[in-house]
Symmetry: C2
Subunit: 141 residues, 2 copies
DNA sequence: CGGTATCCATTTGGATACTG
DNA sequence: CAGTATCCAAATGGATACCG
């Protein structure tokens, strides 16, 4: 049931879907790091990536790269040599993601400390055995 | 402040930590939608939010809001009335997230279709019972 | 109205072993 | 080197019931 313009400007459902979809891709544990590394280096081999993305397991790097390849963000080039060589790089579409990711990256660098601080304040408040509520309560009118 | 030409060479570990940390917050299933709604409306009550964020359960909305409050991105104001009224809004820090989120949102709107298309191409290729490899193979040199 | 508490299914991802 | 395959633990999140 689509109400006729009665409610406020409605955010289009398809738009939300697209956003949710993309967030599911870049919101996982390793994707942004992988894209970031590829953006910096242009092209990297599997184990080069594995070394640069600190802590990623072989399994997860493979899955992350496959998903990125499937979504058209990363190219995978096989060189039929022995030992085998496989190089990963960003597609044009993948490179276009650099902007949004950098925006997020910059925000993190600028405001990460504030978030950490807010957390410790919040946690400290919870730890004060509820002696002091100190919550945000508006005065009754 | 840090080493002079280190920007290209090595990504600072603390920087990656901050980015990972923020991604863990905004990368979950509901956070971006909640922040988006609050950014649009300025302030919303719990059930108003619940109606606008399509599909969110009461539990997850509560958890999402608590995390955002803990991170200093959202304010929670209790009006001691009956029935109770609680209003949520963005903090200054929370509003500063609008930029990066919008960048991502815009990218999704612009490129969402390309990703969907890339997926179906990839999947179709996999479905061709491996008759045609069609993978990206560089010619041996 | 605005939550908690509990239970449970699904998803995610790490460790390990094996392969062409 | 660049993966697969398998197993398993932890995290995520939905459904439901109850509460001040």
């Amino acid at each position: 049931m689509t109400s006729p313009a009665s409610s406020k400007q409605k955010i289009e459902h398809s738009t939300c879907m697209a956003m949710t979809d993309i967030l599911n891709r870049i919101g996982d544990k390793w994707t942004v790091m992988v894209v970031g590394m590829l953006a910096r280096s242009g092209t990297l081999r599997f184990n080069e990536l594995k070394r640069q993305v600190n802590g990623v397991s072989q399994r997860m790097l493979t899955l992350t790269l496959r998903n990125l390849e499937r979504d058209g963000l990363v190219t995978r080039t096989i060189y039929p040599e022995i030992p085998p060589r496989v190089e990963y790089g960003l597609t044009e579409l993948g490179r276009s993601l650099k902007g949004p990711i950098n925006a997020l990256w910059d925000w993190s660098v600028e405001n990460g400390a504030s978030v950490i601080e807010a957390r410790s304040i919040y946690d400290a408040r919870q730890a004060t055995t509820h002696e002091e509520p100190a919550r945000r309560i508006a005065h009754a009118r």
